[in-house]
Symmetry: C2
Subunit: 135 residues, 2 copies
């Protein structure tokens, strides 16, 4: 079962290129970090701080493409954990069909924080169990 | 009239965040630079060097979204130059319709270099005249 979670924390690290975002269970206390790249981390952080750029940044363009092609973002699912890499899917509704698009969690979350209302974030129970076992 | 052009050069600058890409006329000698950000510049450079990442990078995700929603990239047009800022449009065909998506040239070109065969790049004649007059 997919577990509803939310972005709870971003830790920006200026010493190296590994940045951390934390997802936390909405109806519980489970939480885990995902290591992401600096560009994606700043893209998330800037938007959370309310920084609205004059021109579409790369993750804004993703939303413009989805809307331009008649799609509507439905949710994002972190579906798998393989070899310490998380796999995500942006799920987009179009013409009554739910289309799943393979993405890195960092990009998917940078897209999610740009949605109004907030895009629901789900993490598969298996993924949550695996990552908590590894901690 | 839109003028067919191609990416002719990238200059990566490690001293500051301004990177340069150059577009050159295909049937002529006119050429001009566009200042872009480091993330977009590296995204273009990596792909030109043939670096294929294991997971979709942000500009790969844009292509996956377009394809997932049944669109087909048609070309990219640099349509305007306003206050020293270039404006571009990714043009995507879907269901026989040509959809124009507002983008920064840097993102549009990072998408273009990922297309096989190459995505045609056009620059409006007015833009070319303006930028060459300013040089």
């Amino acid at each position: 079962m997919p577990v509803p979670m939310e972005l709870s924390r971003i830790i920006l690290n200026e010493v190296n290129d590994q940045q951390f975002i934390f997802l936390k269970e909405i109806d519980g206390d489970r939480s885990f970090p995902i290591v992401i790249g600096p560009y994606e981390a700043y893209s998330i952080e800037r938007r959370i701080k309310g920084d609205l750029p004059q021109r579409p940044m790369t993750h804004d363009l993703i939303i413009n493409v989805i809307e331009g092609l008649g799609g509507e973002l439905h949710d994002l699912l972190i579906s798998e954990l393989k070899d310490h890499t998380f796999y995500a899917r942006l799920r987009v509704r179009r013409d009554g069909e739910l289309i799943e698009i393979d993405a890195r969690p960092s990009d998917a979350i940078a897209v999610a924080v740009r949605c109004e209302p907030k895009l629901p974030i789900f993490v598969n129970e298996d993924v949550l169990n695996d990552v908590l076992r590894e901690q």
